[in-house]
Amino acid sequence: MNYLVGAFKPPCNIFISFADGRSRKQVPLKKENGKTVMAALFQSQENIVGEVVIEPIHGKKVEHNGVKIELLGQIELYFDRGNFYDFTSLVRELDVPGELYERKAYPFEFSTVEMPYESYNGVNVRLRYILKVTVSRNYVSNIVECQDFVVRNYTPPPSINNSIKMEVGIEDCLHIEFEYSKSKYHLKDVIVGKIYFLLVRIKLKNMELEIRRRESTGSGPNTYVETETLAKFELMDGAPVRGESIPIRLFLSPYELTPTYRNINNKFSVKYYLNLVLVDEEDRRYFKQQEFTMYRILET
């Protein structure tokens, strides 16, 4: 196929750049091919301003039926790969039909773009934002160039952030009370808490705290749920006795977490859970899972 690619090489190169590309923050973005590239970072309501440069290949003329740039917010569900669902679509016409002989630059601007959802790369779903430039042509296929960018939305710290406190147990066997100081954490937060042993009749070996991500996609009968354990953090070594209280201090920064996403465009949800696991000497596991909310604050 290689020679074919060469043969059908587009007659022009298209570059998309952002006006503040040099100063804008770049964050790593994982592409479909598994490579990580750096991509510009935006948040909702921002003006996306830039320039599209079309540069015909040396000595070639490009006939076109018009040039446009689209800003697309897409959700791709992997069970339906290749089929993108656009939840946002904005278009700017850049040029009327005509011919291009030489390099030409088109400035563009999307003002206060509503981008309610964050870019996300999950197990079964991907949410991405792209700028797509299309040079339409007659008889031959359009020339298309895409530029990914990343959207992250920041939320102010929640005004209500109750602690998670719960007493659980197996009757006459194990009773514990645990407390996580908050129910909502930002991505670089620290989970602080403690576990209080009210009754211990089994020989515990250790205890750990897991951070699990539950991604559910689709709806109805086509719901897919994928759970990943992102962190395993040992909290306790050895067997406690009644009355012991074990501190929890888990820094979230080392882990690749995202905010909690609830029912994004009716397509998917990403939720986080703290799973407290107690392991006894026979390697039996006793656990209690609690959902907690992740949110993103503006990093300073």
Binding site: A231, L235, M236, D237, G238, A239, V241, S245, I246
Partner: protein
């Protein structure tokens, strides 16, 4: 199986060390290239080796020490990182990303130490955080080592008074709080060890626990070295908190060790000032805790403290140390009804030592202790426990050692009461100790009352206490004991005759009950002691006051008569006879003729009625003759009677040679050099002639019985008597008699039938040489001897 276990353990240890070293190697490489990320990664992996559960504490320690050394390098690295501008706060967070808790906490403690040193945060906050986070390790061994590591890295960073870490926010209170908390947690872990694992490994676990105890104790040591803990803080915070933990942990091993630890690490002065609190904890300890040892050590320390300087003694008085200790011991004993009697006695013994050191002037205290001891003993009856009796001996010896004076001990009214609870064997031991003390210190027990008390104490030696059972007593031991009693009796003395007489009466009263085995040992010293008194009185003239009931030799002699009489009843006639003769001689010196005569009579009766053994008779008769010869008090009549009897006894001895010797000895009864009225030459000659006859008869008997005439020794002996009286001027002994005797001996020696006897030959030869010598001396004696032809 066990051997396998040990081998396996070695293997695991080796594997652990190998893993540790490998990761340490990578860690070093990371440190050398300043690669913080790798350094943390490999140090965490290295520390993961400490997560093992397979090693015994002993082996685990080995592994821990290696990790400890590596962590020092890491700490230096952290310090450099901080100097290079790496935020120490970030480092403190970064190490907490480690997923495994044990490596995480070791790293946290290491960074924490650097954090405190950087002074970027108040030391107290960091310390509090560290000690709290360490709660995550609930495994006893791993937790103890981790917390021990924490104690180790923090001990030079406590915000003590005068320390560089002391500040507005950090005070010594925080330092104390930190150490106390770490101590409490460590002790909980340590105690918990006891309850984990199968019951059959209890012993092994206890051994392992005792290997770990110093890790826990180290905290108390750290506390004791915090300068800022003054007495008030110790009293209000440190001690109550430590004791609370000790009491509440309800674990024997921990309670015993920690109480001891408290006593050993904190200053004496503090103990003294907090006695109430400290002692208050004892009754709350578990019944199996060896309280006696701990309390004893406390009292020992306080005793030594009191002994260290006289300046501190007022403190003891001020805090009423004795009363408190006494009270506490009472409570402990009450709280532990199962405490073996040994423990009780040990406690009282220590208390006694304490009071003797601290309040040597308060005999009433010592007596009180003994009294309490008696009370306790009274409920138990006689002691069976060997160790306990030993302890009682120690208890009772303490006052003797302290005062070097039995007299003081005699003032302790409870002293003899304690003795009552000893078995007879120990009672004897104790009595011996008392006597030895007296003899060593040459104590003078000089009043009858004290003698009375003393004998009450040593009655174990004086009489059979529980009726018999002394058949197993070793003969030599018995003699040894009784000899010491005899020595004691000799030591009792008072210059005042009245008092001395009372003493004698007291002693007599006690020893008379001693039974036939003891009397032969105890009566003679008493008799001689009495005779000494007689001689003392004899020097003085009549009692100048003429009081009727004053002590006179007569009275003493009456008493002596009774004393010696008891010997006759045992019977110990030979000894009694000797003593009668001694008394007679003393009476003689006092010019008490009837008394002397009475004694002689008694001696004679004994001789006639009781002494039947021929050897004993020989000894007795010679004693009688010897004594009688020295008597000057007798009138002619009495003397005649006595000498007559003596001569008669002599002639009735069983063996002829003995007869012969006794008879020629009797010759002296009639010729006393310094007594002019006793110079009866004729009877002397009679005696000697009689002796010769007997000697002859002896030879004939020998001839008839054995076919040989036997020795001529007897003749030579008689010859010597002749020569003696000849020299003294007895007119009846003349040259002719001597001459004929000489010839007789010569003939006898040459006769075929005589048995050659070199000793007799030599004896005779010397006798001849003596005659020759006297001749050559010239003068009156020479002339006298001149006619004798040898």
């Amino acid at each position: 199986m066990i051997a396998d276990g040990v081998e396996d353990e070695e293997k695991w240890l080796a594997a652990g060390i190998a893993g540790l070293q490998q990761n340490a190697f990578y860690m070093h490489r990371a440190l050398d290239s300043n690669n913080l990320r790798d350094a943390l990664k490999y140090s965490a992996q290295m520390l993961s080796e400490l997560r093992t559960s397979r090693l015994s504490p002993h082996k685990y320690y080995e592994l821990y020490m290696r990790a400890f050394d590596e962590l020092r390098k890491l700490e230096v690295f952290f310090k450099e990182e901080a100097r290079r501008g790496c935020s120490i706060v970030d480092l403190y967070e970064l190490v907490q990303h480690a997923g495994n808790i044990l490596p995480r906490l070791y790293l946290l403690c290491t960074v924490g130490s650097v954090y405190i040193k950087s002074k970027e945060a108040p030391a107290k906050d960091v310390l509090k955080d560290l000690v709290e986070m360490c709660r995550g390790i609930q495994h006893p061994v791993r937790g103890l080592f981790l917390r021990s590591y924490l104690a180790q890295v923090s001990r030079d960073k406590l915000p003590d008074i005068g320390s560089e870490y002391e500040g507005d926010a950090d005070t010594v209170v925080d330092a104390v709080e930190f150490v106390l908390q770490n101590f409490t947690e460590m002790n909980k872990l340590w105690v918990r060890m006891q309850h984990q694992g199968p019951a059959r490994e209890k012993e092994k676990r206890e051994k392992e626990r005792s290997e770990l105890r110093d890790l826990v104790g180290k905290n108390l040591h750290v506390l004791s070295q915090i300068e800022g803990i003054d007495l008030d803080m110790y009293k209000d915070t440190v001690l109550p908190r430590v004791l609370e933990q000790v009491v509440n942990c309800k674990d024997e091993i921990a309670q015993y060790y920690l109480m001891d630890c408290i006593i050993q690490v904190f200053p004496d002065e503090y103990h003294l000032q907090t006695l109430d609190v400290l002692l208050g904890a004892f009754p709350q300890l578990q019944p199996a805790v060896d309280i006696k040892t701990v309390l004893s050590r406390l009292m020992e320390r306080l005793s030594n403290y009191a002994a260290s300087s006289a300046d501190v003694l007022p403190e003891f008085l001020q805090v009423e140390a004795f009363a408190k200790l006494n009270n506490a011991i009472g409570k402990v004993i009450e709280a532990q009804p199962d405490m073996p009697i040994l423990g009780v006695i040990t406690l009282y013994s220590s208390l006694l030592t304490f009071t003797l050191h601290v309040h040597p002037d308060r005999l009433d205290y010592a007596d009180q202790v003994l009294g309490a001891c008696v009370n306790k003993l009274s409920s138990k009856g006689k002691l069976e426990d060997n160790k306990a009796t030993k302890q009682i001996v120690a208890l009772l010896s303490a006052p003797l050692d302290k005062y070097n004076d039995i007299v003081t001990a005699l003032k302790l009214s409870n002293y003899p009461r304690v003795l009552e609870y000893l078995d007879s064997e120990t009672n004897k031991v104790m009595a011996t100790v008392i006597i030895q003390s007296i003899m060593k210190n040459k104590t003078r027990v000089s009043t009858a009352d004290r003698v009375e008390a003393l004998f009450e104490l040593i009655k174990g030696l004086i009489k059979d206490l529980d009726g018999g059972a002394h058949d197993e007593v070793d003969e030599d031991d018995f003699k040894e004991e009784q000899n010491s009693v005899a020595r004691l009796i000799q030591l009792l003395h008072n210059d005042d005759p009245e008092e001395m007489f009372k003493i004698i009466c007291t002693v007599r009263k006690h020893i008379l009950g001693g039974g036939p085995k003891r009397l032969p040992f105890t009566v003679p010293p008493l008799v001689f002691s009495s005779l000494k008194l007689v001689r003392q009185l004899q020097g003085q003239e009549e009692n100048p006051f003429g009081e009727e009931d004053s002590t006179t030799p007569k009275k003493i002699f009456q008493l002596l008569n009774q004393i010696v009489e008891t010997l006759c009843n045992i019977p110990a006639p030979e000894l009694a006879l000797q003593l009668y003769l001694q008394c007679a001689e003393a009476a003689n010196d006092c010019d008490l003729e009837p008394v002397a005569y009475e004694f002689f009579t008694q001696a004679y009766i004994l001789y006639e009625e009781e002494i039947s053994d021929s050897r004993a008779q020989i000894t007795a008769i010679h004693l009688i003759i010897g004594t009688l010869q020295r008597m000057h008090v007798f009138g002619v009549e009495n003397r005649d009677t006595l000498t007559h009897k003596a001569t008669g006894y002599s002639a009735k001895l069983l063996k002829k040679p003995d007869q012969c010797r006794a008879v020629y000895a009797c010759s002296h009864l009639f010729w006393v050099d310094d007594q002019d009225n006793v110079k009866d030459g004729e009877r002397v000659l009679l005696c000697l002639k009689r002796a010769l006859r007997i000697a002859n008869a002896a030879q004939q008997m020998s001839n008839a019985a054995r076919g040989s005439a036997g020795s001529v020794t007897l003749f030579v002996e008689i010859l010597n008597k002749y020569l003696y009286f000849f020299e003294k001027g007895n007119p009846q002994i003349n040259v002719a008699a001597i001459q004929s005797l000489l010839e007789l001996v010569t003939t006898e020696m040459q006769s075929d039938s005589s048995t050659p006897d070199p000793a007799a030959d030599a004896f005779f030869a010397s006798t001849l040489r003596y005659i020759e010598f006297q001749k050559q001396k010239g003068g009156a004696v020479g002339e006298k001897y001149e006619p004798i032809k040898a």
